[in-house]
Subunit: 158 residues, 2 copies
């Protein structure tokens, strides 16, 4: 039997050195998607924080800032799931990801929760610019959508 | 002369212990704003990365993913500067910030650069969904807006 040629060894090595692919996405792309989701969640949290501080009286009510925060929250919440939730970027498959596999196995259920946040954020844009009472009145509905989605589709801390 | 009363000392201590305020924002709010800007820039970079990888041929052209990336880029680029660029959150005043003071001393110039990115991102939404040539054709205009703004309004690495 001929010894395995050097070129075959190189070919095999190159195959295993290539990024692990899932649904056509490189492992770098999947890792970047998980990080980008983290960034979008940071923006959701930042803007809810601005609104929450006003609701609690920890910051003065400022209609322009509250409206801007609600608009930015809506922008973050409305981002296309196609680009952020690349198939194969679930928790366990990608470092730092807390996305449950159910996001991809139950896309309709996940989309419903995501749209619930969009709807609550859109209502907050109006409420935030009205007055402090209206802002406070919309905080609970808004906060509820976070918990609802995280309970079903976010995994434990890594 | 009476010795300074205990209550006055407590009052003075409490005053200095309070977060440093700037334009009504607490130091925690200013630091959060700088972090939120970082998150929005991460999302801009992530989505330009998806488009850039397709443009370079490092990832296969996918009209739906390219459109989603361009839409998310537009959403991030269009976020209100009122909530992200809180006055007092410039480089030097807030840890991690690279925002030059010129953002606030020259708001018209800064807004122009920000709107240039929005315009290029909106054009990319159309181009990205058309075909790979159209996407490639819009990449340079898009990338140019990043450099233009950073040159004028982003400080050196911290």
């Amino acid at each position: 039997m001929r010894p395995i040629s050097r070129s075959i060894l190189i070919l095999v090595a190159a195959t295993f050195a290539a990024p692990v692919m899932s649904d056509g996405h490189s492992s770098a792309a999947l890792e970047a998607a998980a990080k980008a989701r983290g960034a979008s969640m940071s923006l959701v949290g930042y803007n809810i924080g601005i609104l929450g501080n006003m609701a609690k009286g920890d910051a003065p009510y400022d209609a322009a800032l509250a409206t801007a925060a609600a608009e930015n929250l809506l922008a973050a919440a409305s981002m296309s799931r196609i680009a952020l939730y690349l198939e194969g970027s679930e928790q366990g498959a990608v470092p730092g990801s807390r996305a449950k596999a159910e996001i991809w196995s139950d896309p309709t259920g996940f989309e419903e929760k995501a749209v619930a946040l969009e709807t609550a954020a859109a209502a907050m844009v109006t409420a935030a610019g009205t007055d402090l009472d209206a802002l406070r009145g919309q905080m609970q509905a808004l906060g509820g959508t976070c918990g609802d989605c995280h309970k079903a589709y976010r995994g434990p801390r890594n």
